[in-house]
Every structure is written in C-alpha cells, then in structure tokens.
C-alpha cells in the first residue's frame, strides 16, 4: 500500500445532493477507495430518477420503482445518507453547517445540488396553485392539487412543460399550454420538428397557445382561479405550472468565498476556486467549456459523466472533464426524440441540412453537414432510433454526408420488423443535392 492509498482509507468525502451527479460520484469513489462517504440531501431518503417523476403521477410507477438501487445498497457499500438541509459551508474550517445547527467536517467536498426552477415575474405568483416541477415535493404538491382540478395552465414550452401537460392529460385534466415562441421548444428544435410536436399536442387535445404570454395570475381567497394572457384573454384554471427553465441551486453559498456566476465556477477538473471543493452536475458552471458545449448543461447524462470524472480526480487519477459530442433524448407524449451532435434551430451560415419526414408526420430524420467539406455535424431524430456510438463515430471522424447517407442502415436502432426508410432518404438526398 502506498502512502497515498493509505491516506485514502481515512479520507472523509462529503457530497451535498443525492441526484444522479452526487450518487454517481459516491459510487465511483467507493469503487476506487475506502474513503468515508456521506451524502446529504433534504429532498428524499434515497436516490431516485428525477426524469421518471412524471410517471409516478401518471400511475406507471411508484416512487420505489424510480429508485435505481435498492435500499440495502447504501449500507452494504458504506455510503452514509443524511436527510438534512445544508445551511452553509465554512470553507476555512472545512465544516458544513446543517439547518439543525449540527456540523459535519470534510476533507473533500463535492457540491451536487442540482437546479431550482426559475421564477416568473408577474402579479399573483405567490398564490396557492402556482408551482413548478423539479423536486419530489413539487410532485406531491401537484398530486394534492389535482383532485377536482378544472384546468391547468402551463407556462413555458420546454421539456418540463410538456411533461406537465402529459401528466395532467393522463388524469383527464384539461391543459392550456402557453408557449411564447412560434412553436413548441422553438429555441432548440428546428421548425419542422417543432411543428410536428405542435401537431402531436393538438392531436392529444392539449390547448396549445403559441405566442401569448402570461401577464397576471388572478386569485380568490389566496388560490388561483384564472390567468390573464397578453392577448387579454382570461382563462379560468386551478393550477399554473411555471416551467420557464431551471438555474443552479446555489443560494446557500451566496456571500461565501466560493467563486460563482450563474453556477459554481469550475475548471476542467471540476475544481472550484477553493481547494478540496468540487462542483458537478446542474449546479456547476464550466469556466472554459469544450467547443460546441455550454458552460451549464442541466441534463442527466452530463451529471453522470461529471460524477465519474470527479471520482477519478479525488481518488488520485486527476482527470479532465471532456464530455465529447453532445447527445440527448426525450419523449413528447408518444414521439421519441434523439439528438447527436450540433443541431441549431435556425440553420447557420455554411451548414446544410437534409430533412426527411414520414408521410404520417410522426417520424423524421435530419442530418446537418458542413457545406465546405460535406462533413456531418449532427443528427436529429423523431420517432426513429439511431445508434449513439455510430452517430458519434461518424461526427468525430468527419464522415461526409455521401458516406453517411449511403451507410444509414448501420445507424438504425429501431426494433426488428420496424419499417425502414433508408431508401426514401437516399432518394431524397439524390433529388435534393443531385449527385
């Protein structure tokens, strides 16, 4: 045993937050060392999948079904869980102060506190029945308020907004969906895909209203009864869902020595400006993100990757965080969505696109490529699955659009017997680019 390994035996690692980032870090530190590990979270007793919260409300799962590890897992792997709220951190004495005024010391601290929902600025947001969806407590709140609910209004067209719409829809509660843009998720999706989702929302009888903004929430006896939109329309409802995005959950670190901007500033090793303090996941803001990546990426996969990287660094193999090529996936009611690489909502200069849509309008494939060297830079898929590793490899190796269109069947990841559309896309490509 080397001295370093010997020291590792007694290292005291504290992780604030038991989401995907914090728990991944804890698991990987345990794999690599015998350090003492404590995970503090006020939100829930055990780690659960935040992206599956909606399915508890919809009755597909129970809370215990969203927990990726069984309850005995933590004791067996000597990861102590502490259900408490962190009040502040004293970085000079390496001490965490909890809400009940007790303290915990740390040798290494990982901050993985995730996000909090953004607030909307208008009259009436303090009323009962106005809420976002992020935490487990939000779900309990929404569940309670759903009994006898006449209508829910959702403000903000993003992933959480459409989740909320699907949730209420599953319980036959009418939904009005206010989206400021000209189509759903127009800041991320190109117009054709965004329109497809709009159509699908209408098909599910979601009252999607594009362009109007929320101007006022009207209450009676402290409860929401209606909203007013910028079109002066008044919509009566018992719940207003505010889903206009999330931001790093770092209020408890304000006025501390920790350098923050929107999130906790970290370098490529996920180290903050204070020694032995790291930040990962939604709450971390990279000072120098890699090319084509954002400084804050509040998604599951990046949180998991950061957790793995920080565990390596803490256990002696200093590792930089390089997430590689962007990817993400989601589901809008019945339509699955995947993205690999760079897909901009508005086609930038010097980039060309080939877009194929199925005649029924629920499946599509988009491939973006550089008009200079014809190298493929991104894939956007609706209702069709592609293989992550193949798409990533093609983008990395800068394969040309010719090559990719010709080899498209290698990327398809739909189940057996599913209809294949490679020949249609190849035909479309030949027609459009007349090769």
């Amino acid at each position: 045993m080397s001295i370093f390994e010997f020291i590792l035996l007694f290292m005291n690692v504290v992780i604030i937050g038991n989401g995907i980032s914090g728990i991944t870090a804890a698991r990987h530190i345990r794999k690599l060392s015998n350090a003492s590990i404590t995970v503090i979270s006020e939100e829930a007793d055990y780690f659960f999948s935040r992206t599956a919260l909606m399915y508890i409300y919809m009755g597909h799962m129970r809370l215990q079904d969203t927990q990726p590890y069984e309850n005995w897992f933590w004791e067996k792997n000597k990861i102590s869980l502490l259900k408490k709220r962190v009040e502040s951190v004293d970085f000079t004495t390496k001490k965490i102060i909890l809400q009940d005024h007790s303290n915990i010391n740390y040798d290494k601290l990982i901050i993985a506190t995730g996000s909090k929902s953004n607030n909307y600025n208008c009259k009436g947001t303090e009323l009962e029945g106005v809420r976002s969806l992020y935490h487990l407590q939000d779900l309990t709140y929404i569940d309670k308020i759903s009994a006898g609910l006449n209508r829910a209004v959702i403000v903000g067209g993003g992933l959480i907004g459409v989740e909320l719409a699907e949730m209420f829809h599953s319980r036959n509660i009418p939904v009005t969906f206010l989206v400021r843009e000209t189509s759903f998720w127009g800041k991320v999706l190109p117009p054709e895909e965004a329109n497809m989702i709009d159509r699908h929302l209408f098909e599910h009888h979601i009252d999607l209203k594009l362009k109007p903004e929320l101007t006022e929430i009207i209450g009676e006896a402290g409860k929401v009864v209606a909203i007013k939109a910028s079109t002066d329309e008044e919509i009566s409802c018992g719940f207003v869902g505010i889903t206009i995005g999330v931001s790093p959950n770092i209020d408890f670190l304000k006025f501390s020595a920790l350098k923050t901007n929107k999130g906790i500033l970290v370098n490529e090793f996920l180290e903050t400006n204070i020694e032995d303090v790291y930040a990962i996941g939604d709450c971390a803001e990279l000072e120098n993100p890699d090319q084509d990546r954002k400084s804050i990426e509040a998604i599951w996969y990046t949180g998991r990757m950061m957790g793995e990287v920080v565990a390596q660094s803490i256990c002696g193999t200093k590792t930089a965080y390089h997430p590689g090529i962007w990817f993400n996936s989601a589901k809008f009611f019945d339509i699955e969505y995947q993205v690999y690489g760079k897909i901009d909502p508005i086609l930038p200069e010097g980039i060309e696109t080939i877009y194929w849509e199925h005649k029924e309008g629920k499946k599509s494939i988009r491939i973006n490529f550089s008009s200079v060297d014809k190298a493929v830079i991104g894939f956007n898929l609706m209702g069709i699955r592609f293989r992550h590793n193949i798409c990533e490899q093609w983008i990395k190796e800068r394969k040309t659009i010719d090559y990719v269109v010709k080899h498209l069947q290698e990327a398809n990841f739909d189940p057996e017997f599913f209809k294949r559309y490679e020949t249609e896309i190849q035909k479309l490509y030949l027609e459009k680019f007349n090769q």
């Binding site: 007793d45 597909h60 079904d65 779900l139 309990t140 569940d143 309670k144 057996e416």
Partner: protein, 344 residues
C-alpha cells in the same frame, strides 16, 4: 430500514365509464354468467347453443371493449394509472381474482369432478375436433387458448405502434392455437399419440426418456418423425436458436406459458418483483431444476441401455420405419413444393 411513503393521496382513476364501454363489459359479464351456469350444471339452452353463446359473448365483448379502450387515442404506450387501478395494483378485485384463479387450478388438478358441469359444456367442441368427450385438460386448454387469443388481440391493439410486438403477438397466438391446441386434438382424433411439437426437453423432461421415445417410435412413421423432431430440436435446434436469439425465441414467440404471460399477463406485468433477491431465487431455482432434469435423464437412459433387450427393440422399430417411411415418401413426392426445383 426506512421505507418511503406512497405519494398517492387521491384516487385519480376515472371512475365514470362511458356508456358503450359499459355495454361491452356487460356482454363479457353475461358470458361469465353463462359459464357459471354451466359450472353449476344449469343448462337453460342446448349444450352446443350454450357453448356457442358463451364463447360468442366473450369474443364480441372483449373485441368491442378493446376497440373502445384504445382506438380513441393516438397509438403509443398506454400505462396510465396501472398503479392506481384496483385490479392492477393488488386491490380488492385483484386479490379476489387471484384467489378465484388459484382455486380454479386446484380444482383442475386435484378435484376435476367438481368441474364436470363446465367440462360437459365443452363436449360439442371436443367431439368435433378430438372425436371424444371433453375432460378437464380439454376444458383447461380451451379456456387457455381463448384467453391467449382474445387478450392477444387486446395486446396487439394496445401496442399497434410497434411492429415487433404485432408480429410477436401473432406468433404466440398462432403457436397456442395451432400447435398447442388444434394439432394435439386432431392427433387424438386420428388415433395418433397426443404430441406437442412445441414442447422440448428439458422443459418437458419425459421427452427424452427412452420408454416414451420407444412408445412414439412404435406408433408408426409419424411417431418416428416425432422421435426425430424431439431429439434434434432438444439437442441441436434449441441450443442453436438460443445462441443466436436468446431465450426470447421460445419464451415470447412460441411457448404457451409465455403466450399467457404476454397477453393476459400484460395488465399486471408491472407487479413483478424486480428485487435482486427475486432474481437470485429465480437463478437458483432454474439451474437446480436443469441439473435435476439432466441427471435424471442420464440415469434413466443408463438404466435403459443396460437392459439391452429394450434397446435393440427401439432401434429395430426405427430401422423398420426408416426403410421407407410414409412421411418420407410423401415428402419426396412433393419435394418441389418445398425445395428449389433443380430444373429451373
């Protein structure tokens, strides 16, 4: 260990059933009423008419209900409320259904005389396809096949966005109806041994027992074909298919047990135990059963080959039939229907 409390505060399932769904469910309920009349040996109609009415009501009701349930919404995954509904979350109805089904199995296996009324109901069908009166196993097979077909239709309609599930569901329904129900029935009618082409050793351990093989071979050329089928599939076919496709080629494409689980069981699949403990119990059980069957088969084969007299007998039978077996003759006459024609 602490447990997390349930989040369910209100019952969000839609209590009011639309009128047409009520009618469709009513038709199904009448079918069950007719079956229970037969159970108590009450036959208001002639037997064949009562059977026809029971099965028709059940079929019409469930197909109608399936349409009403799933055709109103766009195709896609439909799991809303499975943990809220009484029947699919171990509620009062779910529990009583469990007791009734278990009780039915107990009667079926140990006290079939109590089911005589119901068995009697299936006589007309049994005479027409098997040429003899119904018994408890024919009753069971009929109920089983009806459940797989009707709930298979429901499953297929529910998962109509997924071609893999459609093809697979057609396959399990086909194998249940043809290979597990009709072919064994016709074999009985033709005085051939009741044989299930979709059962294999080690699932059915008797299928490689020498006495059973010997009996099959002694029944004529069809029996010899069955011996070949049994031995080749169990020792060559099953390992090869499993190597390439995993166990799913059997469990969710052919097997009758899988057929019921994937059709009737679909509404309850979320209740399966996913804990590590359950997985461990399953592993221990299946491997000990496999080891037991392998050892038992080897022992029985060993004992059999020691009794050389019998051994010679079975080979004599096979050789005799092999000399020019009927089935080979038939195959040869029609070979161009199956094999490519060399003249073309």
């Amino acid at each position: 260990m602490k447990t997390t409390e349930s989040l369910a505060i209100i019952n969000p399932s839609n209590i009011s059933i639309p009128i047409y769904e009520k009618l469709a469910l009513g038709v199904i309920a009448i079918a069950f009423l007719l079956f229970s009349l037969a159970f108590f040996n009450i036959y208001p109609f002639q037997i064949y008419l009562q059977l026809l009415l029971s099965i028709s009501f059940l079929t019409i009701g469930s197909i109608w209900y399936t349409f009403l349930l799933y055709s109103k919404t766009p195709s896609g995954i439909k799991n809303n409320g499975v943990f809220f509904k009484n029947i699919s979350n171990r509620g009062v109805i779910g529990w009583m259904l469990g007791v009734i089904l278990t009780g039915f199995y107990i009667l079926l296996y140990w006290f079939p005389t109590y089911l005589e009324g119901l068995i009697h109901l299936f006589d007309p069908l049994s005479y027409s396809i098997r040429g003899k009166a119904a018994d408890n196993w024919f009753l069971y097979g009929s109920f089983y096949t009806i459940a797989v077909l009707l709930l298979g239709f429901k499953f297929g309609f529910k998962y109509r966005h997924n071609r893999y599930q459609l093809v697979r569901t057609f396959s399990v329904c086909f194998f249940q109806l043809i290979f597990a129900y009709l072919i064994p029935a016709f074999l009985i009618k033709m005085n051939s041994p009741e044989f299930y082409f979709t059962y294999f050793w080690p699932l059915k351990k008797e299928m490689l027992f020498p006495n059973d093989l010997q009996y099959l071979a002694s029944t004529g050329s069809l029996g010899v074909f069955m011996v070949y089928w049994t031995v080749l599939l169990a020792l060559v076919g099953v390992p090869i298919l499993t190597y390439f496709f995993g166990k799913r080629w059997y469990c969710s494409w052919i097997c009758g047990c899988g057929a019921l689980a994937e059709t009737a069981g679909d509404a309850f699949r979320h209740l399966s135990d996913k804990s590590l403990k359950a997985w461990k119990i399953e592993r221990y059980l299946i491997y000990s059963v496999l080891v037991f069957v392998v050892i038992l088969t080897i022992l029985i084969m060993g004992k059999f080959s020691l009794e050389r007299q019998h051994f010679r007998l079975i080979f004599a039978n096979i050789r005799q039939s092999l000399w020019f077996p009927d089935w080979l003759n038939i195959f040869w006459s029609y070979r161009h229907w199956i094999l490519p024609n060399p003249r073309k």
